[in-house]
């Protein structure tokens, strides 16, 4: 075990310790700054959820959230058609009534048409987790056309105080769990508020 340092190295311990502290604090601050920046964005969308599940090894109890926009039927969307697992995609959301729904899907940010720039549209970035393909259509063989996608947006976990998970995970019949999601310009998403039947339960703010 290396624990005995030479005279020269043990005398220069403090600058080294400070360097480690500086680098590690910088890494943690970058993590916080990135999330705070998205939370301070003006673009906020409200999504309906179907909560499901329980606990992380390091981070405690959480509610596993499933959104309508996690399962995308390509027949109902405009945009591109060929996708692979683990690809990054940009989903255009459109506001209808209170909630936001998927409208189009693209692989590249530059290819998103300008018509989706309006107030009723927002952009969310995700990763394709599963691709469902159809090999046969009306008795004819088609070339592995993609029919639906499972997309993850990094907002599928919501950490709650120990024991509170069940309340949100299995709401009473008729209860509705909705979330307000903050989005930055390139579509990175962060959970801002959790609402149960339209009443705010948790709000995410560090300060």
């Amino acid at each position: 075990m290396v624990w005995v340092m030479n005279n020269k190295s043990y005398r220069s311990v403090w600058p080294k310790i400070l360097l480690i502290l500086f680098i590690q604090t910088l890494l943690l601050m970058a993590m916080i700054a990135n999330r705070q920046l998205i939370l301070s964005s003006d673009t906020v969308v409200v999504l309906e959820t179907k909560p499901i599940d329980p606990r992380s090894l390091f981070r405690g109890d959480y509610v596993r959230l499933s959104y309508e926009i996690n399962e995308l039927q390509l027949d109902e969307l405009s945009g591109e058609r060929i996708f692979k697992t683990n690809e990054t995609v940009y989903v255009v959301l459109q506001k209808s009534n209170q909630y936001w729904h998927a409208k189009a899907i693209y692989l590249q940010y530059d290819k998103i048409p300008e018509k989706y720039d309006g107030e009723n549209f927002a952009l969310i970035q995700g990763v394709v987790k599963r691709v469902s393909q159809r090999q046969w259509k009306r008795g004819k063989k088609v070339n592995n056309s993609v029919t639906s996608l499972r997309v993850s947006y990094g907002i599928e976990n919501y950490f709650v105080p120990e024991g509170d998970g069940l309340k949100l995970e299995r709401p009473e019949p008729g209860d509705k769990v909705t979330l307000e999601i903050a989005l930055d310009k390139s579509g990175h998403a962060v959970i801002k508020t959790l609402l149960l039947n339209g009443v705010q339960q948790y709000e995410e703010a560090l300060f």
Binding site: M1, N7, L21, M31, R35, V190
Partner: protein, 477 residues
């Protein structure tokens, strides 16, 4: 015999010898006192080092408990504390741990006129605590912001922080922690995201470099073991592109290639300990897969797909290319080893080359002819692999004796026992065949032993005539 008692015996023998030398007038009384004092200091130094080890182990256990407590506390997501307060608490705890490490490692022993810090073990434990609290901070931030996008990235950030600490502070305890965390990282990437996790190899290179540079012995073992665990983790992913048999053959060749490379580097004395360990683990790894290939009931045919589409043809060619490249590397290293050796090259080493050639031919023929050709001869490859295993036992005993390498001899006996037991209990042959196999095997071994004994005497005789005693450079025990 443990180190302490061997030191005592040495000290006692030294005392007796010195009194004899003093009586002979070869050394004076002052010299005797100085020599005995010197031996005593060494003896006490060993004791001190053991007490350091104990304090390090206790301190590390304390750190693990503290860290587990902190993880549970923040995972409980207690609402009685604001998030900002929790975060400040963790940041200050991390700073406190590093401050304590700085204090322990910078408090010198000037009063004792000894080099190095006064509390080295405590310093290492606090460094480890700092790294663990850094990880807690990452998890707490991920919890506060509900970060879910690709969660192994959190562990990766933790590993990065640990590596930075290791590089700056040259801490073996932190290097071990980083290696274990990296294993967790690659495990999550492989099992939860179903992909071959190549980026872990970059971590392996960096940690190997640090372990060699810092001569970190325990960390060397951990890093090497994680390499083989990584290969096993990715087994299922590799089998997406080829059959089980093909991957097992590739693993066997990887083990052999690593073993040969490590032996070559060991000879060059770049870093004796790390590569010595690597060669042993790699050899065991290769043996495990050779042993698996010796089971006929597993039917591990490595034959690749027969379908004629371009994708499967290119996959077949890639796996053939991998096989051939590894075989070329192993053969190249074998010839390079011959070149480095003092002539004449022992016969068991020449036979080793023949052994490798038969193995390579069997593996290649297994890929291309398993079903269409060898199946007519009922498990010919498996019989060859079994014969190769038994001949390896003889080869290992020969090389172990010639190079005074206990590892080879012990391994040979382990393989022999395990293979013998497996062949006895498997349903490969009927009782009559089995009996014939063991009788013939027994006779071969007895006559082989007699022949080897004769050869050994001849070799010893020629060695004593031609050159001074010593091994060929491979020995290290």
């Amino acid at each position: 015999m443990n180190k302490k008692s061997s030191h005592k015996i040495f000290y006692k023998q030294l005392q007796e010898k010195l009194s004899h030398w003093q009586a002979q007038g070869w050394v004076n009384e002052t010299s005797v006192k100085n020599i005995l004092n010197d031996a005593l200091i060494d003896f006490q130094g060993e004791d001190k080092s053991n007490s350091h080890k104990l304090s390090l182990i206790l301190a590390i256990m304390g750190v693990m408990l503290l860290s587990a407590g902190a993880i549970s506390f923040f995972a409980a997501n207690w609402q009685g504390m604001s998030k900002l307060f929790k975060l400040s608490l963790l940041f200050s705890s991390m700073t406190g741990a590093y401050w304590a490490a700085g204090w322990a490692l910078s408090t010198g022993q000037e009063s004792h006129h000894l080099p190095g810090p006064k509390y080295p073990a405590l310093g290492q434990a606090f460094l480890l605590l700092g790294v663990l609290l850094f990880g807690n901070n990452i998890m707490l931030i991920a919890q506060i912001y509900h970060i879910d996008s690709h969660y192994p990235n959190g562990i990766f950030l933790w590993v990065t922080g640990a590596l930075i600490t290791t590089i700056i502070m040259r801490s073996e305890a932190v290097l071990i922690a980083a290696s274990l965390l990296a294993l967790l990282w690659t495990g999550m990437e492989t099992f939860d995201f179903r992909q071959i996790h190549w980026p872990w190899l970059i971590f392996l290179c960096v940690s190997t470099f640090i372990a060699i540079r810092q001569r970190a012995h325990l960390a060397s073992h951990i890093i090497i073991i994680t390499l083989f665990i990584w290969l096993l983790f990715n087994y299922e992913e590799f089998t997406r592109y080829a059959t089980d048999g093909c991957i097992i053959q590739v693993y066997l060749l990887i083990g052999l290639a690593l073993f040969m490379s490590a032996r070559m580097i060991s000879i060059k004395q770049i870093d004796h300990y790390f590569f010595e360990c690597l060669s042993r683990y790699a050899f065991i790894f290769a043996l495990i897969f050779l042993y698996i290939l010796s089971f006929p009931s597993l039917d591990l045919y490595p034959q690749l797909s027969h379908s004629s589409n371009t994708e499967s043809t290119s996959a077949q060619l890639s796996w053939l290319f991998i096989h051939l490249s590894l075989m070329l590397v192993i053969t190249g290293l074998f010839f390079y080893h011959f070149k480095q050796m003092i002539k004449p090259i022992p016969i068991y080493k020449r036979l080793g080359l023949l052994w490798l050639s038969i193995l390579f031919i069997s593996l290649l023929s297994n890929i291309y002819f398993y079903q269409s050709f060898l199946v007519q001869y009922d498990n010919v490859t498996v019989i060859i692999v079994n014969l190769l295993l038994f001949s390896l036992v003889i080869g290992l005993i020969c090389s172990g004796l010639a190079e005074q390498n206990h590892f080879y001899v012990n391994t040979a006996f382990v393989i022999f026992t395990i293979t013998l037991m497996s062949r006895y209990f498997d349903t490969f042959w009927n009782l009559m065949d089995r009996s014939l196999f063991f009788i013939v095997g027994g006779l071969v071994l007895i006559f082989g032993g007699y022949w080897l004994e004769k050869k050994r005497r001849q070799l010893n005789l020629s060695f004593s005539k031609n050159q001074p005693k010593g091994n060929d450079g491979m020995g290290y025990e």
